[in-house]
Symmetry: C2
């Protein structure tokens, strides 16, 4: 007799991308669902995000697939809260996934889509719009720079994860700097014209 499960199990035995994001966090240290949902906002959230309503069912699926193990604790809050630890097979699945080439992404960029129709806006408004967008990117870059300082301050411990954390941050910064330069050139071209 199959027991009714409240969650949809993995049909093809492969976790979703969100599942791997959670495994990636749990490979670093055990966490509860709540802690994971906070982590998916700040550190990992820069390249993958999820709400708690997505995370809890996904954790149930990961546990069902034996990729993580959960243990009940009595922390604060009304319910028992469950702390999850990655399993050996979970770590293997994560490593295998991390070395697979990523599928080509559809690349949805609303900013570029707006640019595509900016020719029908009058030049002054267009300039304002672009300057505003550049300001947004400058702001993002500034945030990354603050984060980098945070890394520099508590160095000393050069754990194996640190190297890749720094690298992803630098990638974000490199991208933003390139885009800001592109904005500078574009606005100069518009003024010159």
């Amino acid at each position: 007799m199959a027991v009714a499960k409240r969650f949809r199990a993995y049909a093809d035995a492969m976790p979703s991308t969100l599942g791997f994001a959670l495994l990636g966090l749990l490979a670093r240290k055990p966490r509860t669902g709540y802690e994971l949902s906070r982590a998916m906002k700040k550190p990992v959230g820069y390249f993958w995000s999820a709400g708690h309503s997505q995370i809890y069912p996904e954790l149930a699926r990961l546990e069902d697939a034996k990729l993580i193990r959960g243990k009940d604790e009595h922390g604060p809050g009304p319910r028992q809260n469950r702390r999850y630890t990655i399993s050996a097979s979970g770590r293997r699945a994560l490593a295998a996934w991390a070395t697979e080439p990523a599928p080509p992404q559809p690349a949805r960029n609303e900013e570029l889509l707006k640019l595509y129709s900016l020719w029908l806006v009058d030049p002054d408004r267009a300039r304002e719009t672009l300057a505003g967008q550049r300001e947004q990117h400058r702001h993002t870059l500034a945030q990354y720079e603050v984060m980098e300082q945070g890394f520099d301050e508590d160095d000393g411990e050069s754990s194996p994860t640190r190297f890749f954390d720094r690298a992803s941050l630098r990638r974000g910064m490199a991208g933003e700097r390139a885009i800001i330069k592109w904005f500078d050139g574009l606005l100069a071209d518009l003024d010159a014209r």
Copy 2:
């Protein structure tokens, strides 16, 4: 008696992002649904994509909202095909949308997510993975460069849209070049270590 509509109308009178993408194409010239679905693969597809199953219902909604007008023709194919033209209010809505600041996007980047877990892969495999990803980006950049040549060849006509088309292409190239440089630095760091 309200006539049953086969499509869900805009509840808040605002088209979705896809709707604006279609308006952006129709602002340049009238097209049929089929032509739009091809355009959403090649030119616009680099920053926004959609299948035809999404496009046809969206066109019905846009027409219902009077942002576009459709006229039946008897082209090839079995059915009447419908050619759509943007309306004055459609052009106004598009211009207004294009100057609005884009909402901060969740930024889902599977490549960066994989990088986040690459610390647990053995160094040689990690290097291979990264080199493969860099190759992908070099390939994308090469495609953009071919497209740029296409622009250079048929110049002469410098229509108002051309300027922004070139600009978006240059943005894509700037981003790819920055990422490739980042890969170079990262791989050098890994070798030096």
